[in-house]
Symmetry: C2
Subunit: 617 residues, 2 copies
Amino acid sequence: MPVYHPEALEALRAAMKESGIDYYLMTSSDCHASEYVSNYFKVTEFVSGCTSDNVILIVGEKDAFLWTDGRYFISAAGELAGTGITLMKDGEKGVPGVGEWLKERLSRSEALTLGFDGRQVSAKLGASYRKLATDCGANVNGEAALIDSIWTDRPALPSHPVKVLPEEICGKTFPEKLSDLRECLRREGADFLVLSKLDDIMWLTNIRGGDVDYNPVALSYALVTPAEFFLFIQETELTEEFRAYAEKYEIRLLPYENVFAFLKDYPFAEGAGKSSPAILCDGSASTDAMMQLLASKGNLIDMPNPTEIAKACKNEVEMENIRKYYLLDSAALCKFIFYVKKQMELADSDKEPDFPSASPLTEMAAARKLDALRAEIPGFLDLSFPTIPAVGGNAAMAHYAPEGEGDVIEPHGFLLVDSGGQYLGATTDVTRTIVIGDLTDQMRRDFTLVSAAHFRLMNAVFRKGTTGYQLDMLAREPLFAHGLDYGHGTGHGIGFILNVHEGPQRIGSVRPGTTPVPMAEGMLTSDEPGIYRENEYGIRTESITLTVPYKETEFGTFLRFECLTWVPVDREAIDLSYLSTEDRRMLNDYHAGVYEKVAPLLNEEERKWLYEVTREI
Amino acid sequence: MPVYHPEALEALRAAMKESGIDYYLMTSSDCHASEYVSNYFKVTEFVSGCTSDNVILIVGEKDAFLWTDGRYFISAAGELAGTGITLMKDGEKGVPGVGEWLKERLSRSEALTLGFDGRQVSAKLGASYRKLATDCGANVNGEAALIDSIWTDRPALPSHPVKVLPEEICGKTFPEKLSDLRECLRREGADFLVLSKLDDIMWLTNIRGGDVDYNPVALSYALVTPAEFFLFIQETELTEEFRAYAEKYEIRLLPYENVFAFLKDYPFAEGAGKSSPAILCDGSASTDAMMQLLASKGNLIDMPNPTEIAKACKNEVEMENIRKYYLLDSAALCKFIFYVKKQMELADSDKEPDFPSASPLTEMAAARKLDALRAEIPGFLDLSFPTIPAVGGNAAMAHYAPEGEGDVIEPHGFLLVDSGGQYLGATTDVTRTIVIGDLTDQMRRDFTLVSAAHFRLMNAVFRKGTTGYQLDMLAREPLFAHGLDYGHGTGHGIGFILNVHEGPQRIGSVRPGTTPVPMAEGMLTSDEPGIYRENEYGIRTESITLTVPYKETEFGTFLRFECLTWVPVDREAIDLSYLSTEDRRMLNDYHAGVYEKVAPLLNEEERKWLYEVTREI
């Protein structure tokens, strides 16, 4: 069933008229700030046909406007053609932003009404549109659930049975985590906590679900009270195992759909034993509807979920599991690179008419090969995101995904592969750029500088309190020196059998309105500088690090990164003239580690190859 | 006349009673956020006797409390002994901060009144105390000028005649700067600008004063309207030259003392031609009284003064003057180092009874020698701060100033000298750590790592938009790697014949509540990493940089630092085993530059010495 319904736009306008709404605003996010959104939540696509990830759609009586960012200008223009909806290229000169546009429109006459469904608008956007409308003398209806009535064949909410993680791999039981969490709440002066963030709920309860692609999370909400723990989850997801677990740990199960009704009636004051209970809820991970409701029930403490930092700092048991699976995952990628190199030799030898032709290796065939190698690892659950195999200029595109089989991998230049797995003990993520043919001097220089950037950050020592925003400079500096840079962050956090992207740490620029978070012991973070040349090639080297103690001195506590990824950085593309003595030492040390750790996991042919590609340079 | 009056505390309590004030709050700042405060403004010292720089004093009916920071705990304890005033060691565990304390006190009974003189309380503190008091149900009287009536022999306001800078060294005339400024105001939607920051006013008008030690500024306020420019300045400061200048450029001169009365009556609405005029005033550089007054006159735009960034980015003419004077200033310091080295040789040879004893060199004698060398430079006006000469453990103390003659400089370890001058074309600042005797291995290692830190930052290339908070990491990383660090920022901005410390850029951590400012072309910034070992020694190497273009590429605009300070980094303390090949190259390149530039400015003996100390290592 297609999500897009060409007749939805007019149906929506009729519903707007009935509800007295002049402008109706929709976003492409779900209720939980998830990275992947299921069809159920795709209201902007339902009305406009636009499949972009980052969309705000506003429908007026006679016109409609859709904002998206530069990644989607081309695709969105095609999808919107003929719909009567105007594409607003967000960030382009002369194109008003949503706020500016709304301000102009809502000021046109008296008492216009802006409507939206606050359950699917983030708290931050909701608050800003509410203020803006009020400033313009307009009314706001944030409970306008217009799509519910007109989307008659709406897909069901995703629903997959939840699994309980074996406690021996979690390091802490749910009651232990809950007790730590209640201690945090006490410190913050909060009586209650409402969680909307799915990975936080999964981490806290030691369960995993399957409701978001590649993210093993279940659609849910949680309420922590001084004495009880409520989990809102779809009935269809409850297994016998989970019911028993919930009973053992006194997890009060309630239907996912009832969360708003339940919270509306919940006696917060009584539960806290005071007239003005304090409710902690992270506005950056909640919806406008949730924040509006909770604000009416007590003093709202809007701050990051205490679960966020607890989840980010892996415990000893998690770290041991992570180290183990990262090594197995690295070995799979080594096997894959060996395979690709061999295929390329065959393809190259094609030119000799004596040899039989090898079937051409496409991007997707390469991805399938790698996915199969991962699937052989005991404990493999899923990929942590769709494998990205990109040759030539494809690798210079952000968020590249091959169409169909993708391009044939010809023996020229680079193949960039970004991939990762979900295992019963780790979520992995790794990128290597593989030499598959002849390189130009510029390709070698770019590759070598990315490698230097990667190892300089990897080998950093930093004082406790240092933020990723500061560390970012260590990776960029070798590129800056040559007038080069990359348009993305250098590192993101990674979950434990959870989302491949998680906060709060980030190695990179500070997002407006946020405070950079210091790197702390146990954080699992990527190190992934790159260089991208449009239509030519893309280079990225990504390894994953664990923040660990280095030493204590009279000057403070110092931390360092432990590398978890053990996959060769392609020596064929290294131009030694761009490496300092120290850069070279770091590369050689790393390669010695790769051979030592991975060789025992390979067959003889692979081991011989690994020996060659990790030799001192 | 001493500032402290032991009877002032009781006189103040009587005045409080008369005005119905339960707690009276005073700070040690002047009305302009100046670094040095004249006696006129020392109200906290007048009441308490405490001479610390960073004080908040609160007097109650029966008790009184004084907060200061760790630098002053020892001196403040001595000064407060017997006064009945309790010292609050700010930041120490278990010691409530001012806010916490006020909250507790103001909640004790109904409708207490907190009083202060808003003309001498910063806007930020004023706003926070006002909110706090209101939250506690207390009253606020921010116009309680109680000190005025009880300090009968109060020192006069400082007053020195202002000088008009020759226009040929300013690069831009006052009307040009004013026109640029009005353009900025238009962009920000501001009709008016009120300036309280003295160096901003001096920069804008191209005049200089002498009312704050070492900072060539005149006590003043300025009001920029759409059509006029008002300068509030003491009558006693007006020279014939300046009056003529003011007339030529239509600077409306008004008495400094009348600024509040004038602004209170000023017809802002009429001047802007609209009922709700927008007034820009930088709350971080203004007083509570000023912000309260302006808020009653229109829409207040509280943002950094547009003059701040314009002042920070030096123009071509300023840069040429700066380069010239930095070289002359560097030569003076080279001469000084040569002198010290020779004195140390003499002191050392003392041990041989055949030679006559050299008179011992004290810290202050060394400072006088250096100050005299600077004073010989044509165009010398003043020091930019008191020269800091520090031997042994003295150099490990922040803000060290010798008492009397200070310590005798014995031929052991290091002499750290931090100094600078005001010239008719530049304000300078430079620190070198000079080997004056035997060193330990640890001293050599520390010195070498500080040198590496200094040159790595100095040689950085960075993309436009990079902030000092990011760049800071390049200087810290070589220290972090050995578990070392320093407790101060790596770099501050420097004025043009103005304050030796100015904003908005800063190479270092971000002060809470502020946004880091990107480094921009023309910024003059220090590069001064260090290592300090309590009671043993202190090392700092400080050079000044100018941010200049590096190159434009498809990846962006890149900037670099041009070094302006040309003084040897003492080779005697370099341990090559702690320098990478690249670190060594940077040191040698720098020394080659020092010899090439400074040698022509020295006599033959000095030149020979310079040749030796700048040879390739």
